[in-house]
Amino acid sequence: MSSYLLGLECRGCGRVLPAEPTSICDECYSPVEPCYDYNALRGKLTREVLQSRPRDMWRYAELLPLRREPQARLPVGGTPLIEARNLGRALGHRALYIKNDSMNYPTLSFKDRVVSVALNAALEFGYDTLACSSTGNLANAVAAQAARAGIKAVVFVPADIEDAKLTASRIYGATVIRVQGNYDAVNRLCTQISQERRWAFVNVNFRPFYAEGSKTVGYEIAEQLGWKLPGAVVVPMAGGSLIGRIRKSFSELAYLGIVEDDAREVRICGAQASGCAPIARAVETGRAEITPERPDTIARSLVIGNPADGPFAARAIRESGGSAAHATDEELIEGIRLLASTEGIFAETAGGVTVAAFQKLMAQGAIDPDQPAVLVITGNGLKTAEAVANVGGEVFLIPPKLREFDRVYAGSASQAAQEQAAQELVA
């Protein structure tokens, strides 16, 4: 593989720095972002070339910020895009799709993608410890991929994360530091530690590399739609990185001539939980700056009150003509239930937020019900099962006797639905 990475471009002053493990410009301290030699790629990276490669995120390797062939090349990404006819019918949309990253490899969330890029960059730069501040999913992805690559992992999480996310970090052998504070406190601490130790913090000093992994969600959506861009995407927002990179991925595909659609016409829509919605509120009120919040929601994977990429996310939404919405805990739980019961996809709390926010955006008329729309589901419901412990279908406990089964089933919702369906057939 040839590398097309030119360096890291400062989003403040525009200087291009050499590709190094840093997330900010050394002159003006603004965030930096990888830039590529797109003109050299034009005509070389075609649909045919891409389709001839294995179906995972590495088929887009030229658009990722590595200088060499990835050393730790796991089959990450390549997750399904499914037509969500049932959910669409329930919510009044006629061309709805789900990008289902809840089944990503190896840890069932979209974070597998970003860690994959950060890990390979860390290996290129000779780091032996992978670290992160995380609300849970990222810690899982760091722990798993570091184990496979044979390097150390140290993950920092808020003390109150879900049990499943804690377990799914420990099992790989990572050192887990539970910090008594919210995610923003964890992140501040990690920023300080990253200045003292030569560790690859995937979302701190390796953030420019990490964030680019998110673009592969967008490339895959376009490819799976038959090399077309959707009319709208709805994306959950925590730090605000994913949503901006999905927009960037569409622009890159359009610039390279891989898709013919105008990337500027894709409405980029963001979803947050009402208990932590600094980006959505900035969009709603038209403010450029983000006012930090103290999070209070069960959507713990989204509880970033001071989102690092918040201003960029808000700008991406505004420039695209998109919108943002936020959902209460009750609404997001209903969103999880609705997605599961219509499409058979069990999403984590962030997925419930995305479905509930989509519902609100539809009600506001922010999304065209006839243009393809994609909901990005980023995490797996089994990791936040406690959020829906008392939601869903009926559960009966019976002795192993036929008449006991007949007795309880006669009064069940399933039986009632069956009878109603039979009556409708007769009528």
């Binding site: 997330s23 003006c28 603004s30 979302n203 390796f206 953030r207």
Partner: protein, 93 residues
């Protein structure tokens, strides 16, 4: 009254390597003034044209984000520890 000001390592480029100073500034605008007098050229990277801290600068007082304490209106107390650090800055170089 004196406060301790810790400067994240990326700023050391503009501070001649200093990572900690003591200041008598009563509030954030005064602290920016103090920093500019000691380290000419630093403050323009910390404060925007509107006089507000730049969006990618995080400022903590005793581990609390200063925006939750009143921001520019917060009056420093004796022995406050102030940390200035670029958002998501890292690296041990």
């Amino acid at each position: 009254m004196a406060i301790t000001v810790k400067l994240g390592s990326p700023f050391r480029r503009h501070t001649g390597g200093a990572d900690k100073i003591t200041s008598a500034a009563p509030d954030l605008p005064a602290l920016f003034g103090d920093l500019e007098s000691r380290f000419p050229g630093l403050t323009k990277h910390l404060v925007g044209d509107n006089g507000e801290p730049r969006p990618f600068l995080n400022i903590y007082v005793n581990e609390e984000d200063i925006r939750f304490l009143g921001g520019k209106n917060y009056k420093f107390a004796d022995d406050d520890e102030v940390l200035l650090i670029p958002a998501v800055a890292g690296g041990s170089n």
